[in-house]
């Protein structure tokens, strides 16, 4: 069947989707380009008809799981419903056709949305200032740690070389610290999912630039000692970075600013319901406390006394860590987040934390009841929680990976697997507030069935999936015999 062909295999010399481009120009119109700079051979792009393209990518799309089609409880990713109204609004021609360098006279509509969004984010996080510039969570982290660095440097406090990171942290945290020129010191996490406070205190010192942490943590529990941690780091002269990937859990309940964080990033593609696009784009705005205001990345939207809006750029904010991209960030994502914020409003925001937490705790209890093992059975779940299949792996030879693959056969996207690293054979499960109780129950039913299968037909489970476009893939071959582009 044609679906597995590559677009290049459909190519046929001389074919083209003629009406998609202007007609050919005679070569004399190109005489201003010196011959030695002209491309010798046209690029070997596919030569296909319009219908072939439409059919090819329509068919490819149907080989994806997606929130619009399946429950997708990918922990730490907040795969909630992406309102279609947000897509329509962000795709309005006035927004789509606006050049990023359009003059302010022709940007008041867009700027007003950005200005308000900054304010909404300040309010829900309890921070003093927000910049929307970072293009994803990791870039938000980068901006945050770069601000911490700029802060210390501005004070001449330049012995600080280390960032503390709990071992459960997401990989972007240590990678970011390094990108900002810091060494990483990992802090152990206790049996109950909270940071080992004593170890942390020991790690703190004059070399400590700051601590990066997520709360609720990537263990799916709320870090109860947050105030003690904050105190320890601050007393050592370090700053507190909040990785906002899990903000969904506490929206409207606790604010990072109130917990003592100095700088945070938010993942709008998680908490603010913007789509994940098969890998992106996201948006990772940063919020800061008073003392980091001067360092926020530019540009930001500002408002004049007469109510008009303007850009705040590095020329006026010359202490800024600067631009992180050519223009102003992922504007289209920000517009979708703006739509979401306006449709939720105050009451809606508060409900997000409540109902995502309700869903997670319900799902956890039900899964425990059908025989799953919680990693932190004595803790409340936040908006997500961890199961461990260490027992199944040992006793039945059925791993978390096997169960994940088998879930696909039940038309359920698998949760995040093998993260955080400190829990063996784990699932990080995040149902979100937008899934119905029935959807949660169906997932429980699937898990119960799979656990039964693991006991009775472990070999079958180890060979799953059976219903997807491909069977389990040979990742080793993929890495050993690199095949990264197609050739005839």
């Amino acid at each position: 069947m044609s679906e597995t062909q590559l677009i290049f295999q459909l190519s046929h010399p001389g074919r083209s989707a003629t009406s998609q481009a202007p007609k050919a120009l005679s070569d004399d119109k190109l005489s201003a380009i010196p011959a030695h700079l002209r491309r010798k051979q046209k690029p070997a792009l596919p030569e296909v008809s319009e219908m072939q393209v439409v059919r090819h990518y329509t068919n490819l799309s149907s080989k994806n799981f997606a929130i619009d089609k399946q429950f997708y409880p990918l922990g730490s990713c907040t795969m909630k419903y992406n309102p279609r109204g947000a897509n329509r609004a962000a795709m309005l021609p006035g927004f789509l056709n606006r050049h990023p360098l359009a003059p302010e006279s022709h940007s008041q509509g867009f700027l007003s949305c950005m200005f308000e969004l900054q304010n909404f984010l300040k309010e829900v996080t309890g921070m003093k200032g927000v910049s929307l510039a970072p293009m994803a969570g990791a870039q938000g982290e980068f901006a945050g740690v770069a601000m911490i660095r700029a802060y210390h440097e501005a004070r001449g406090d330049d012995e600080r070389t280390e960032i503390l990171i709990p071992e459960a942290a997401h990989g972007t945290n240590p990678a970011t610290a390094v990108m900002c020129g810091y060494k990483v010191r990992e802090v152990p996490v206790g049996k109950d999912g909270d940071v080992d406070l004593e170890a942390l205190k020991e790690a703190c010192g004059p070399q400590t630039a700051g601590l990066m942490m997520t709360n609720p943590s990537t263990c799916g529990v709320f870090e109860r000692q947050i105030e003690a941690i904050s105190k320890a780091v601050h007393e050592a002269g370090g700053l507190l970075y909040y990785d906002g990937a899990n903000l969904n859990a506490i929206l409207g309940k606790v604010r990072p600013g109130d917990m003592g964080f100095d700088v945070i990033h938010m993942n709008l593609h998680k908490t603010f319901a913007t789509p994940h696009g098969g890998g992106g784009p996201g948006a990772g705005p940063v919020g800061v406390s008073e003392r980091l205001l001067p360092y926020l990345p530019t540009p930001m939207a500002g408002q004049r006394d007469d109510g008009s809006y303007h850009w705040i750029d590095s020329d006026t904010l010359d202490t800024s860590i600067g631009h992180l991209s050519a223009f102003m960030g992922n504007a289209g994502v920000l517009l979708r987040a703006y739509f979401y914020a306006r449709s939720l409003g105050r009451e809606g925001m508060i409900r997000v934390g409540e109902f995502s937490t309700l869903a997670a705790n319900y799902l956890l209890k039900r899964l425990e009841a059908v025989g799953c093992t919680a990693a932190y059975p004595d803790r409340r779940a936040s908006h997500e929680f961890i199961l461990t299949f260490a027992k199944e792996a040992k006793e039945l030879g059925v791993t978390a990976m096997d169960i994940a693959k088998r879930l696909l056969d039940y038309n359920q996207h698998a949760p995040t697997t093998y993260f955080p690293l400190l829990v063996p054979e784990c699932f990080l499960i995040e149902p979100t507030e937008t899934e119905s109780k029935e959807a949660l129950d169906e997932f429980v039913d699937a898990m119960a069935a799979i656990l039964e299968e693991a006991r009775t037909e472990p070999d079958m489970v180890k060979e799953a999936p059976f219903t997807q476009p491909v069977r389990r893939l040979d990742d080793v071959k993929a890495a050993r015999e690199l095949d990264l582009t197609w050739s005839e």
Binding site: F65, P83, L101, V184, G329
Partner: protein, 452 residues
């Protein structure tokens, strides 16, 4: 409750299963005095879809209606309707990173095709699945060149002054944290190009790489062969920053000089992504095969399944932060997948001839526009080098003033070079295939009036 399906009955049943009395109880591990409940006073009341839509319609309409000739790194092109009608299909739009390969073959094959497309456009060996944008992509390329250039111990990279200043500043902001220094190579004030002469005094010095922008910020075409060979002769890698549309007409970096560029980055926006106030765009990044393990970002490989059937999967993950953590090539995680998907569809739809025609019309329209505008008294081309689809013009009055007056007439006449290059009277102007003859005349007429 918008987007939340739970009825009071559901909530009761769920709480019962949990063994909690109220939702509030679920937050009992949070120190009470930290709780913010009821605090979000600065947020407005929630609105219906109809009301938010109306509001945003009004906002969007405020910014519409002008004819724009601004380029400077983001370009208007006709985007076939099929591109976003398909890219916003739920299956692409609402999926995430293809961690479960078997349930993500759609996205994975798209990326594999994208990788192939980009290597063919740039004549390079391998490509990743996108970085944030062209500017941050350059920062990644600079960091990558330090890792890749085994012969060099330098933490310095040569960057032309004629590079888009937004690329320079973003790269600076990103790499300076790791004590990497960018050194500027001036451009020829007459030609608007980066000349070998300007590099001569760096010979013998240790730099990890030389950045070459084709075309450069002024729209000028650089003598890329000579620059590439010079860099290689001096032990540097070559980082090419290219416009993807231009690739249809202009020698691709893989063919520059004797050995070709080593790393290629650029802004993917011209390939089917709307201007959209600056994003989401996507940065593309290609390199020679031998540097693939130094490249940041996601890479998809083709492999086989248990039954020997072709399939696609994330590969070389040991470069990435979720595996290697602090040893990763970059911290990038969420990338610009959807824009990359759109670009894949766009490039497939246009094909070699379509993209060539787009490039040719953009070039020709810019020539026509420049001719029209320089026919006005006091307006002149600032530089003599050949250009692709952008050109610097000097005006008889300060650029800022003229641009503001043009904007009053709903003509966005380009960007001023006053701040970035101290060229107070210079503007950078772009036209593409979307500009009709009337559009060009409109600009001409408006500029005449403004300068009269």
């Amino acid at each position: 409750m918008p987007y939340i399906p739970h009825t009071p009955d559901d909530v009761r049943a769920m709480l019962d299963a949990i063994g909690a009395d109220s939702i509030e109880d679920l937050f009992d591990e949070i120190p009470a005095h930290l709780k913010a409940a009821g605090k979000l006073d600065a947020l407005p009341e929630g609105l219906s879809e109809m009301d938010v839509t109306r509001l945003m319609n009004e906002r969007a309409a405020m910014d519409a209606g002008a004819v724009s000739f601004i380029g400077a790194g983001a370009y208007q092109h006709h985007i076939p309707a099929a591109v976003w009608e398909i890219a916003t299909r739920g299956e692409f739009y609402t999926a995430y990173t293809p961690y479960q390969a078997e349930a993500s073959q759609g996205t994975l094959q798209v990326i594999y095709e994208f990788q192939t497309l980009m290597t063919r456009l740039t004549a390079m060996d391998v490509s990743n699945a996108s970085v944030y944008d062209g500017a941050s992509g350059l920062a990644e390329a600079v960091l990558m060149s330090l890792r890749a250039n085994r012969k060099s111990k330098s933490r310095k990279v040569l960057v032309p002054a004629a590079l888009n200043p937004r690329y320079t500043s973003a790269t600076q902001a990103i790499v300076e944290n790791q004590d990497v220094a960018l050194e500027t190579v001036p451009f020829c004030q007459e030609k608007g190009q980066t000349l070998i002469d300007a590099l001569k005094h760096h010979e013998g010095e240790d730099y990890a790489a030389l950045v070459i922008s084709q075309p450069n910020y002024f729209g000028s075409l650089e003598e890329v062969d000579a620059l590439t060979d010079w860099a290689h002769a001096n032990g540097m890698l070559v980082i090419a920053v290219v416009n993807p549309t231009a690739m249809a007409l202009i020698t691709p970096p893989g063919e520059w000089g004797e050995d070709g560029a080593d790393i290629v980055v650029g802004e993917g926006q011209p390939l089917g992504v709307p201007l959209s106030s600056g994003g989401p765009y996507f940065g593309f990044m290609c390199c020679k095969q031998k540097y693939v393990r130094q490249m940041p970002g996601r890479i998809i490989g083709r492999t086989v399944d248990m039954e020997g059937k072709q399939g696609f999967t994330l590969t070389l993950q040991a470069r990435e932060q979720h595996i290697r953590r602090s040893k990763a090539t970059s911290n990038i995680c969420t990338n610009q997948g959807l824009a990359m998907t759109a670009a894949t569809i766009y490039t497939s739809l246009l094909g070699p001839d379509g993209l060539t025609n787009v490039a040719a019309h953009s070039h020709a329209n810019t020539q026509v526009l420049a001719d029209k505008l320089t026919a006005i008294d006091g307006v002149e081309r600032a530089f003599t080098a050949p250009t692709f689809h952008e050109v610097v013009l000097t005006l008889p009055k300060p650029a800022g003033e003229v641009l503001a007056a043009l904007a009053e007439k709903d003509v966005l006449g380009g960007v001023s070079l006053a701040t970035d290059y101290d060229m107070d009277n210079a503007i950078l102007v772009n036209a593409t295939e979307v500009h009709s003859e009337q559009d060009l005349q409109l600009f001409e007429q408006a500029l005449k009036e403004v300068l009269a």
